[in-house]
Amino acid sequence: MSLSRREFLQMLAVGAAAGLVGDDLISRRAMAADKNSSALYDLPAFGNVSLLHLTDCHAQLIPTYFREPNINIGLGGAKGRPPHLVGEALLKHFNIAPGSIEAHAFTYLDFEEAARRYGKIGGFAHIATLVKNLRASRPGRTLLLDGGDTWQGSATSLWTKGQDMVDAQKLLGVEIMTGHWEFTYGAERVKEIVDKDLKASNIEFLAQNVNDATWGDLIFKPYVIREINKVPVAIIGQAFPYTPIANPRYLIPDWTFGINDDNMQKMVNQVRSKGAQVVVVLSHNGMDVDLKMASRVTGIDAILGGHTHDGVPAPSLVTNKSGKTLVMNSGSNGKYLSVLDLEVKGGKVTDYRYKLLPVFANLIPADKEMTAYIEKARAPYLGKLTEKLAVSDSLLYRRGNFNGTFDQLIIDALLAVQNAEIAFSPGFRWGTTLLPGDPILMEHLMDQTAITYATATVNNIAGDQIKVIMEDIADNLFHADPYYQQGGDMVRVGGLQYTLDLTQTHGKRIQNVVVNGKPLQASKKYKVAGWASVQPIEPGKPVWDVVADYLRAKKTVHVGRPYTPQLKGVTGNPGYAPI
């Protein structure tokens, strides 16, 4: 399918009405009445090189809901600056009209009502149509970049060891990628995909910051220089620098990671000396790390980033020693597609236009070829995927610095099924959203839990050790220096309450920990349920089976307010909007 911009907009306006029923039709009619809806995709081509960027889709092949956070706190220099803005503060900063379709795309505000109105987001068939249209309106001058976290996050990706997503990437026409959760399939599987599938499809997997742990050799190509519309464009890959710490090191025992600023500068200098007129980093650092890296490394035109799942409507411009760098972050779950149009004149970037396009599945017709592929990929697993476990009468979501409602459900299940005093669940930023009344299908539960090290655990842990763990994780989120952060959210907790003092430093943030109404005792052992241990452990029942048992028995679930610790030092913080 190749469409002119005019044809594409017309198609959006009529809503490709054929075959629509029920909610879809209502939602689409509502959007047709909203002038802003079709204007969303009215994106005239600009300049002579266009970069399309998709990141952190977490293997979401079909449309879903994804609620943005109401708590995403930035401290120190990051306070009140993108990406640490939520809700009204975000709308105000980026001048987005409250109540508009874009307000829904970028914030949690009135989530349920707006989600029912505007429908689901993402889906590879809808992304494919958008990509094809952008390529048609920018002929011979696009590059499609994938920032990673593509092979993990769904049941089918886990069961096919990433293969369903690799095949979807090929069909979508991804040209260059980097990675993070990809590595959790193990070094051997990653190499197999890179050397066979990706190579055969001319997809580059780039990382300047993954080395052999013994000899220091690079594992992947650090960069490529592609001639786009007669302009030499360099793309440098930056994988998630803390993979062996945030995820099990035993899966990639011979690889060492890191931010490696020095080598990044070396790569930038190298591609410039080879004649690159545009230098772009395809990064999985996370936005705070990207902002710092942009201030330290000079000569990068743009960093197209991911990892922290920040849907940031406009770039941050960072000044460094001898230039300026645009820093962007393109959200997650297939919710957005970044379009960076660059004007390159006289050997350098002279101007740009940027748009983080929300992918509304009801506004963009599904690509037939991709739809057929997705149906085929899902067919062998459909029975398992669509098993109805329970119905939720609450909005279920994960994203946010502290417990989301879906985490609360997992925590409740762990406490009940494992008969534990305390439950911990990791602060992952992926995990889709369900509206009240939606059935919880097995695949929705897998969207929250599908990892290669999902064994549910029960351990007896001393109180002082519990505090150490919580302090460490809080520091990985709230350390003043982004290079000492890891980009996840705070561990989700159940069975204990605490105070988090954000004016303090490591070792002093976690206060007043209470278990069963009594202060945490340093030497007492507590029965703690959890999952996703990064240490090598004996494989056992995966967490999704534990939670599925709970849901099947419950049939209907209600989740009240998700637990948020007592916070100190957040008054007036534009990244904090308690609900």
Binding site: F257, T308, F428, W430, I469, D472, I473, G488
Partner: protein
């Protein structure tokens, strides 16, 4: 060597490097290290200031951008943290590495005579700590430091 995974590299001819001695934390002493160079007081000192004074006879040091310390911001494996010290200072006589919060902070000491100022080793770290590199050049001490974080991990992204 008891732990073959750990390596110490010196650039230039090894013959020009007089000796490398490593603290008990690192778990071994190279067989070619001259036993006479083993500075027991320095390697067993419990405080970094005491270790520096015991090793160099003075605690007076100047922070210097010419001392390049390459260490991870966060340790992937606290039992083997790769650190590298290099310098373009002239007449390097010694390079020492300290981990402030280790039970015995001095973890390695290399004496030089004519070799390029480069030292690389893997260290064990007990907890998050400043790592301090000290270079003795033309009789004076120059230093650089960096925090290396040791964390429980998990929960990322």
């Amino acid at each position: 060597m008891t732990q073959p995974q750990r390596r110490i590299f010196l650039k230039g001819s090894l013959m020009t490097a007089l000796a490398v001695t490593a603290g008990s934390v690192i778990g071994f002493r190279p067989q070619w290290a001259d036993a006479a160079d083993w500075n027991k007081d320095a390697f067993t000192a419990k405080k970094i200031d005491e270790a520096i004074t015991a090793l160099f006879g003075t605690g007076q040091m100047t922070p210097s951008a010419s001392v390049k310390l390459k260490a991870p911001a966060q340790a992937e494996n606290s039992a083997q943290v790769q650190i590298q010290v290099s310098t373009d200072l002239p007449n390097v006589e010694a390079i020492a590495v300290f981990v402030e919060k280790n039970p015995s902070p001095l973890v390695a000491h290399a004496s030089f005579s004519g070799a390029e100022g480069f030292f690389s080793a893997r260290m064990k770290m007990a907890q998050t700590s400043d790592v301090v590199a000290v270079v003795k050049s033309a009789g004076k001490l120059y230093t650089a430091k960096q925090t290396v974080k040791v964390t429980v991990g998990g929960c990322g992204g």
